[in-house]
Symmetry: C2
Subunit: 437 residues, 2 copies
Amino acid sequence: MAIWLEQASDDFEAKFSAFLSTKREVSEDVNVVVRAIIDDVRARGDAALLEYSARFDGIDLGETGIRVSDADVDAAVAETDPKVLDALKFAAERIERHHARQMPKDDIYEDAIGVGLGSRWTAIDAVGLYVPGGTASYPSSVLMNAVPAKVAGVPRLVMVVPANGGRINPAVLAAARIAGVSEIYRIGGAQAIAALAYGTETIAPVAKIVGPGNAYVAAAKRHVFGTVGIDMIAGPSEVLVIADRENDPDWLAADLLAQAEHDEGAQSILVTDDAELGRAVEAAVERQLKTLSRSQTAAASWRDFGAIILVPDLKACLPLANRIAAEHLELAVADPDALLPGIRNAGAIFVGRHTPEVIGDYVGGSNHVLPTARSARFSSGLSVLDFVKRTSILRLGPDQLRQLAPAAITLAQSEGLDAHARSVAIRLNAFPDSDGG
Amino acid sequence: MAIWLEQASDDFEAKFSAFLSTKREVSEDVNVVVRAIIDDVRARGDAALLEYSARFDGIDLGETGIRVSDADVDAAVAETDPKVLDALKFAAERIERHHARQMPKDDIYEDAIGVGLGSRWTAIDAVGLYVPGGTASYPSSVLMNAVPAKVAGVPRLVMVVPANGGRINPAVLAAARIAGVSEIYRIGGAQAIAALAYGTETIAPVAKIVGPGNAYVAAAKRHVFGTVGIDMIAGPSEVLVIADRENDPDWLAADLLAQAEHDEGAQSILVTDDAELGRAVEAAVERQLKTLSRSQTAAASWRDFGAIILVPDLKACLPLANRIAAEHLELAVADPDALLPGIRNAGAIFVGRHTPEVIGDYVGGSNHVLPTARSARFSSGLSVLDFVKRTSILRLGPDQLRQLAPAAITLAQSEGLDAHARSVAIRLNAFPDSDGG
């Protein structure tokens, strides 16, 4: 049973605020352990990787090697259901086509007084991609992280994935092959993050690390941030479904449960102006729950964090939606375009009754790595922009310098920075041989 | 005396690697203190702000108020040298014009099978801007942080600045007025970051915090990251000057010292193919050092972290420059365009002898908030992109759903996610009333 909130009731604001600030993540304090592991990998390199992989993953890397060989990947591809391979290729192509449009363009220009200004984009030289082991080892996530990096032109894309009990999900290796990952290592946890950030004898360091992981991986990414870049720290998934009365309750229930089955901390919220629909969806959720293989997870998520919010009319829910800032937002209404412009904060919006969020998880073409836990208020989903960086370019000749110098000197002096002022002033007495730039 | 490195010598790689990994920042472990302050501000709000401001800034906020009034800003503007005001306005206009070109465009389109896809950009609702007190309270930094936020369309831009001993640099308040800052509070330190992230009785919370600060501010930003967005954590400044023999050593010495005077941890590096020029620059640095008001700081920086790197030819220095990944890179050479394409990692490039880095600090139009400590390998300077976020949009009708469904269902089933598969499959038996989106 999810909670019910009614916007029209007197205590709604208090209840809604409390609902918004509910923490859905157990934040284990793993920092001490993680720091020790990172220090150890920095100090001992491969030897530390072997030790931690034996302890945590039950695998002897001395025997298997740290690197997953091309032959290993060939074998994994052969082992993968051809129907799944085709679906992965279909998804990869759609993801690639959409992300190609995101590549930012250089902008080099001269302003009115002849100052050359520019923004130049280049791919990051080397990127690490973390892929979890076990049940959360999703080939679709490999595509969502790796394809944009390839589109950006990242020359070296390194994947790490723990081989729990010696085994890596073959579809994950197949997805890596399809996406064009350059190197794969069978390591995971904080030790894998340390290896990517600092390098070992076998693994050359990267400049940025992306991809989801458990509390240890997240803490390790926070620790190495600065030495390398990191993507956002992903929390449990969430969906907000805004629905009018004209919906099939079973469709909506399926969407809510698709989110809930991810994780006990996942959150599914239905907003509707029709109490009857709300009750029908609730009943449908209970019915469908019984048939799911992951019903325990989904039931816990729905019970602890699910919500049905009743609003007097759907326009009134826009401020609520913007405060929730959901990772995924479905507009299951007759006229979605009436609501769309009012939604400022959302990772992704799924427009209309025939766009279940799940399409975006796999084959829509857009990215499924999206900001969770209200961070859509200030951040965006993964894109090509996460794999490039911008260098700004400034170019003055003597004329331009003369025009800009007085203001620069005034500001430098007012900030008490003499050498700054001199660096400009000294060039105003240009000498004949110095016009080479 | 800076260190000399020669690329042609046998031990260059070892020395250069050691040089690259030299830590220039004293990393005080302030986390315990900072966490206590943040918790206290969350618990006690304004009362905690009053207490910390009395203790750390020597100011009674109960008397002055937490908020800087419009009249206070009027007074500060009146107190500021009109020449400085004009220079600030001149700089703000150039910054605004350049940054306006960075505004990303929405991209909403239909693909070949009629799937609607889109990237929609919106400004962040509320942004906090931290401005340090004391000698590092730079009006130019107010412009560099605030103007891009305004260009992005951020409706609420909140500045915090500590009033050390009761006083705020009037030029900082004037710059805030020029840039269009919406609210100003006279608080600083970790307590100001906590107030921005969580809000107090007086201060409504923001969604993202930008701006430089000391070790306490940096640690506080790391702590609140997730609750709000943050910009990069800036380290000490650095410049890499690539110079041929045709330079006036005094110009280059001035540029190196402009960086060195910022901070004892700042770093100035000269790369040249001409040993004689190197020696001449070194002598010029020593001469100019004597005349600087901040000569102690600059001398310490140059002594501890300055370097002159001698290379056999200038093309050979490109791999070094890319490993250094300098915040600022000057190309003081006859043909800068021969080197420009080879530089992949740099925050900003200053092209030609008449483009001292200092122009970029103030009036070039580009941003002076740039990635330090080698982070230009994976990140970019501050831009309009830091103040917007992207929502992705997906829109399918029944036809498109039918075409994408099989691959989505295959992938969902292969990942063991039943409810995902059902959310798509259930819609394939469309019923008559459900084509509303």
